[in-house]
Symmetry: C2
Subunit: 270 residues, 2 copies
């Protein structure tokens, strides 16, 4: 889960998603609309009998601020809540499992803020079943071949991996960048991602306000997307002043065509 604004648990309940399947929460920065929902979510996780530990990644002040409230309000919580502090000034690997890596993306906001890059670990090559049959390769050799190794037959003949496999499905990647003024420093980190979420709080008409509050316009977000050569851009975090978000969409699409608008409960396949 990325960020946790007030009412996150209510939104989960509405969508019938089971929030006890969340094991890690990545908090971008300590503004209320990105973290005020933690207390309620974690209390409710406990009331629903969760036992699996939960890890929260955030600025070091997150633990300082929230720990006393967790200790008070969530006494006897049946699971562990672990805080991991990241350094918001550098891009670092903060999470890794068999299928995914998560890196921080240093952003440029009024307070220390980081985005998050989710990158699938390199997938395995696909076996060509007919070639495996042809060379009569035993099952125990398959894992190594999937990883790219050649096969040596009992007669000592080497079969190069390229004859036995085809390249893996490309690894997918998603970058989340909110809140931030536009910054070129993130371009190399988010280069070529499949999907970029970038905040677009304001339209061009409010660009002065965007600068002073260290937010982005829709055009800013699209320009970042273009420079980073991402495949798709999703913009969000719109100011409440826009009753019609298409103003923002249109401004973004002038710069980067493959842009869509974020919306409540939206689900996107990458």
């Amino acid at each position: 889960m990325i960020d946790c604004g007030e009412g996150a648990q209510l939104q989960f309940r509405r969508t019938k998603l089971n929030f006890n399947r969340i094991y890690d929460i990545f908090i971008s920065h300590l503004h209320g609309d990105h973290c005020f929902g933690l207390l309620g979510l974690i209390s409710s996780m406990g009331m629903l009998g969760r036992t699996a530990p939960l890890t929260i990644y955030g600025h070091r002040d997150l633990e300082v601020l929230f720990k006393p409230l967790f200790d008070f309000f969530c006494k006897g919580l049946p699971f562990d809540v672990k805080f991991i502090a990241y350094n918001p000034n550098i891009s670092e690997l903060i999470y890794e499992d068999r299928s995914i890596q998560v890196y921080t993306i240093p952003l440029n906001h009024r307070i220390p803020t980081a985005g998050f890059l989710f990158r699938e670990t390199i997938r395995e090559r696909h076996i060509l079943k007919e070639m495996i049959d042809f060379y009569n390769i035993p099952l125990k050799c398959i894992p190594a071949i999937k990883k790219g190794e050649d096969y040596v037959t009992p007669d000592g003949e080497t079969v190069v991996n390229e004859r036995l496999t085809i390249p893996p499905t490309p690894s997918r990647s998603y970058a989340y960048c909110s809140d931030t003024a536009p910054t070129d420093k993130i371009i190399p980190i988010i280069k070529d991602v499949d999907l970029l979420y970038h905040e677009a709080t304001f339209a061009k008409s409010e660009s002065k306000r965007a600068k002073s509050t260290m937010h982005s316009t829709a055009e800013d977000a699209a320009t970042v997307a273009k420079k980073a050569n991402v495949k798709k851009l999703i913009i969000g975090h719109y100011s409440a002043r826009y009753s019609d978000d298409r103003v923002l969409l249109n401004e973004a699409r002038l710069v980067f065509d493959n842009t869509i608008l974020a919306d409540e409960n939206m689900c996107i396949e990458i």
Copy 2:
């Protein structure tokens, strides 16, 4: 405003009520569903440019717990937030203005908890205009007469107040009692109120659970209402296990007929 659960500001926005017209918030106890909305509500009050001070009445730990978060998240708040700690073990006057008094009601829950009694101050007697004209009473004497004083004519004749006025409209009163196990100690405090809100978390079938969690059943709430001779009872704080709240309503009405079910955004005239 009484209590402030998570998402209170969102609920206000939906109802189009202006939450910057709130000057005082009374927090019954420090369980999340009664106070987790304070941070978001107060942040948003600030963002909407509020300047009027806000007073929060609660257990002394409320300030200890939330002050550091207000200081961090609401830096530069354009209004003052004042905490007033009440003693949850006694009934005391904690608020008073020209039209209303607010008293605490010591409740019986797992942690220190108080309900709140709202009582209109005694209203003024209604002037009988024809008698004022008959005695040719000057305007400057009217306020005293409204307060119940007799009138002395220039000739020294005393006209008793009862000839000049009729009794005031009765003062209205409302008692809020949540969360609590049923307790007879509150009866003298809430005696004869026009409206009693009393929690009714469980049905009779869950009375063991009600006892162990220090909550009330619908029957418990109705029994309190009956003993206190209140005019009307509203029950709420139902456990999520009841998909049909009428189970609770029916159980309550067997004991106290004039019972209604609380509901989102319900508005009741007293």
